[in-house]
Symmetry: C2
Subunit: 535 residues, 2 copies
Amino acid sequence: MNKDKMRIIPLGGLGEVGKNMMVYEYEDDILIVDTGMMFPESDMLGVDYIIPDFNYLMDKINRVRGIVLTHGHEDHVGALSHVLESINAPIYATPLTRGLAEVKLARAGLLQKADLRTVQAGDTVQIASFKVDFFHVCHSIPDGVGLGIETPAGLVVHSGDYKFDHTPVDNWPSDYARLASFSRRGVLALLSDSTNAERAGWTPSEKVIDSALDMVFRKAPGRIIIATFASLISRMQQAANAAIHYGRKLAFVGPSMTDNLKMARKLGYLDIPDDLMVPLDQALAMKDKEVVLMCTGAQGEPASILGRLSTGTNRMFDLKPGDTVLLSSHPIPGNEEAVYKTINRLFQRGAEVIYEAVAPVHVSGHASQEEMKLLMHLVRPRYFIPIHGELRMLRQHAKLAEDVGILRENIAVVQNGTVIEVSEAGMQIGERLPGGYVFVNGSVVEDMDRSVMRERENLARDGAVSVSAVISGGRVRSVAVQTKGVNLTDEAENGLRTRLYELSGATQAAAEQLIRTYIYNDLRRRPALFVTIHE
Amino acid sequence: MNKDKMRIIPLGGLGEVGKNMMVYEYEDDILIVDTGMMFPESDMLGVDYIIPDFNYLMDKINRVRGIVLTHGHEDHVGALSHVLESINAPIYATPLTRGLAEVKLARAGLLQKADLRTVQAGDTVQIASFKVDFFHVCHSIPDGVGLGIETPAGLVVHSGDYKFDHTPVDNWPSDYARLASFSRRGVLALLSDSTNAERAGWTPSEKVIDSALDMVFRKAPGRIIIATFASLISRMQQAANAAIHYGRKLAFVGPSMTDNLKMARKLGYLDIPDDLMVPLDQALAMKDKEVVLMCTGAQGEPASILGRLSTGTNRMFDLKPGDTVLLSSHPIPGNEEAVYKTINRLFQRGAEVIYEAVAPVHVSGHASQEEMKLLMHLVRPRYFIPIHGELRMLRQHAKLAEDVGILRENIAVVQNGTVIEVSEAGMQIGERLPGGYVFVNGSVVEDMDRSVMRERENLARDGAVSVSAVISGGRVRSVAVQTKGVNLTDEAENGLRTRLYELSGATQAAAEQLIRTYIYNDLRRRPALFVTIHE
C-alpha cells in the first residue's frame, strides 16, 4: 500500500454506516474503532442481536494494533466479547466506558484475557502508526470521546456520537478547543455522526429535562417511577437532584440499573449522597409522596420492570392509584408500537404517565443540523464522510456539507463494507467487501441464512401441520396429525384420515399428494407441511 | 330502557376507541356509525386485518335502523362487507364515501344486496328515533362528515375524523355554523377525534404542501414520482395543479389509484383537465422533465409500486438517475421501519427522495390541541367522551377538556366495549362487553385465538422440527427427520438416528423423550417439535 494513503472501512450490513465498527488502516497497521451490536429488524425472525461481520480482519488479526471504544453504549461496545474471541489487541477506553466494557467481558469470561488500557479525554496515545487524540464530546452517556487519528497520510477526525450541549448535566461541554486545534493542523477527512441530519436547528440541552422533572415532582400526588436506559447516568443525577429538592428518597430497581449506578458512583461520575438512596423494600414501606423509584423498560421491553408493571406481573411491587410513571426516553426505531402499548397499559392500570410526546422529559444525545455545520467549520476537513446513520441520514448530512462549502466530489456517502482510501492526492471509493451481518441467537453466533428466515416467515404467517402415516400392503395403516399455529377442526382431521385409509394401492407419493391437497383445500392457506410416509 | 337515556357503545378490541364502529341506542332503535377495519399489531402473526367484534348486535339485528359512514377511509368503512353479511340496514353516506363503499361492496359481491342512500353534508335525515344532522368536516379525504344525533334523550355530537383547515384544497372548510347551532340547541355529549391530542397548536393546512411541491417541481431534473394513499384525492389535485404550472403531464399508476381517480372525477371531487393526463406507456416514452407519475406505496408496502421500485422489481418501469421520488405520507404507527427501509433503498437505487422528515410534503388530517378546544367551545357539551385514539391520546384529550372547563366527572375515558348511558340526569359508565377483535386472514374471518398466535411466535423464533419413527418388536425401525426455519447438521441428524436405532426395548414414550432431549441439547434452542412414533 502507498505510504501516503489511509484506508477507512466501515464494517457491518445494511444498517447504520460505521456505527458499530470502523477499521482504519495505515500500511501494515490496523486500528479498530468501536465494536458494537445492532438490534434485528422486524423481519429477522429469531435473531436476538446482530454483530458486524469482521471476516475481513480474520487474515489480518496480527496487524490489529488496538481497539478504541468511543463510549459505553451497546451499539458501540456490545460486540466486544465476540471480537475479542478472535482478535486480541489492547483496548483503549475512558474510565466509564472501560467500566461498562469490563462488566460485559466479565459476563463472557473474557476479562482476564482482555488487555484494557484507560485513557482520559484530552490524552494523546500512539498506537503503532496511529497518533490518537481523544477529545471529550457530550452525548447521552458521560465520558464519550471523539478521535483525532493521525498517520503520515494525514489527520482524520472521527466524531463518535456527539452533540454540542452548552449546559450538560455533568458540566463538561464538548472540547471545542481541541477540535479547532485540529483545523490548525490541517484535517484530511472528517467522519461524523449523522443520526439527526434530518433535524433542523440545535438539539436541546439535557438541562431542559430539569424543568420537566421539576413540574412532575411538584404535582405528583404519590410515588414517582422513572424509567430510562440503565446507561443514562446523567438522568440518574437529574432524578437525584429533583428528589433532594422535593424531599423524596430514591430507590434504584433492577440489576443493570444498580450495577451501573455503583460503578458510576465509584468512578466519580455521579454525585449522589448516601442518605438519599434507600433499598427497594424500604422505599415500598415509606409514604408514597416520599419515594422515587428508578428502573429500566422505557423501550417497552416486556421483560423489563416497567414492562412487567404495565401488565401487572412485576413480582416485587405493583402500580397503584396515584403513581406517576415517567418514561425518559425516545423510542428506538421499530420500538414505537411496543413503547406506546406499554404507555397505554400503564394508563389502563391507573397510573398517570408522562412521556416524550407530552412533556420534554427526554432529549436526543445527537447533534442536529446546526451543530453538524459547526463541527465542519471547527474542523475544516478536505474530505467529508458522513457515518452513523441510515443512508437517508447520510444523504442529508452530505447536503449540509455542501451547504457549508465542502466540494461535492470531496464527500463520500458509502455503505458498510466499502473501502475508502484518502490521501493528500485524493479520495478513492473502492469495492464493497462481501458479507455484512452476523446473527446472534442467545449468545451463539448462528449459521442462519435468509432462506431459514423465509421459512420462519411462512411458519409465523400460516403455522405448521405434521402428518405422518405408515403404509403396508398397499394400505395406509396408521395416521397421526399434529398442528401448531393453525387450527384443523376434528371434522377435517377425521376426513383426512378416512381419505387416507380409503386409498387403495397406496404409495408414498400418492399419500403425500393427497395430504398436501387436502390440507390446502381445507385450510385455504399454506402452512408449512411435514409429511412423513413410512413404508 | 328509560325513555330519557341514550346508550353509546364503541365496539372493537384494545385499539383506538370508537374508531372503527360505534353503536348508538335509543329505546329499541340502534344506529351504527362507521364499519371500519384495523391493521394487525406486530405480534398478531398471520393476521391480514382485524374487524370489530359486533357479536353484541347479533341478537338485535332487527333493531338496527341504519349504518352511517362518516368518510371513506378503510378504518371507517373497511369492514362494511363483513357487517352487511349479518346486518342488512340502510347505509347513509355522502357521494364520495358512497362511491368508495360501492367499489368495496362490488368486490365482495354485496352491491345488489346493499341499501345505499346518498346524503349531502348539511342534510338532516330522520333514521327511526335518530334525527341525524350531517355536517361537513375537513379531513385528508373529501366529503367527510360529522354527525349531530338527536333523540328525545338529547343531542349528541359525533365529530368523526376532522380538522379545522381554513384553506383546504377543495375550498370547503368545516361547517362552523352548524357546530355553533348545535350549542344553541344544547348538546348533551360530544364525542370527538383524539388522534392528535398529544400535539400542541393547530394542524397545518393542506395548503402548505403546495409550496413544498412547488420547490420539488422547480428543482427536479428528471421524472417526478409521487407516492401517496390511493384515497388521498386532494393530493391528486395538488399534483395536477403543480404539473400544469410546470408544464408536465401526469400519469396515474396502479388500479387503486386509477379507480379512485375516475370515481372522484366523475363525482366532481377532482378538477383535472383531460389533456393533462397521459397513460403510463405514453408517459414512459416522453422526456423525463415532462412527466409526473403518481402511485401508491408511501407506507412502505413491499407489493406496492413504490415498494417494487425500491427493490428493482417493478415490471412496467424502473427507477433511473435523475428521478425524484416524493413520499407524501406519514408512517402509520408500526410502519416506520418499513417506510424508512423503502426510503433508504430508493436512495440506494439512485433516486433523490423527498419525504416528511426533510420537507413539508404531508400534513395530518386530524385536529391538534387548539382545534380540539375550539370544537369544545363551539359545541359546549355537558358530557365529553374522547374517541378515535389510543388510551394515551384519550387521556390527553380529557385533560384538554378539563382545561376548557368541562367538569372532570362529566368526562368519560373508556375502552372499546364499554356501555355508556347519557341523559339529562347524568352519565353512567357500565360494564365492558366481552369480545373485542375478530381476525381476518385473506378475506376469511378466522377462528384464531391468542394461543395459536403464541404458537406462531414460537415457530417464528425457533423454527420447527419433525421426527417420525416406527417401533416394532421393541426396536426403532424407521426414522424420518425434517426441519423448517432451523438448521440441524447432517452429523446431528445421523447422531439422532443412531441413538434411536440403539434404543433397546423401545417404547413410544422412551423414543419421544430421547428425541426431545436430543434436539434441545443439540440446537440449544426450543423449536416447535412434532414427534410421531408409530407402533
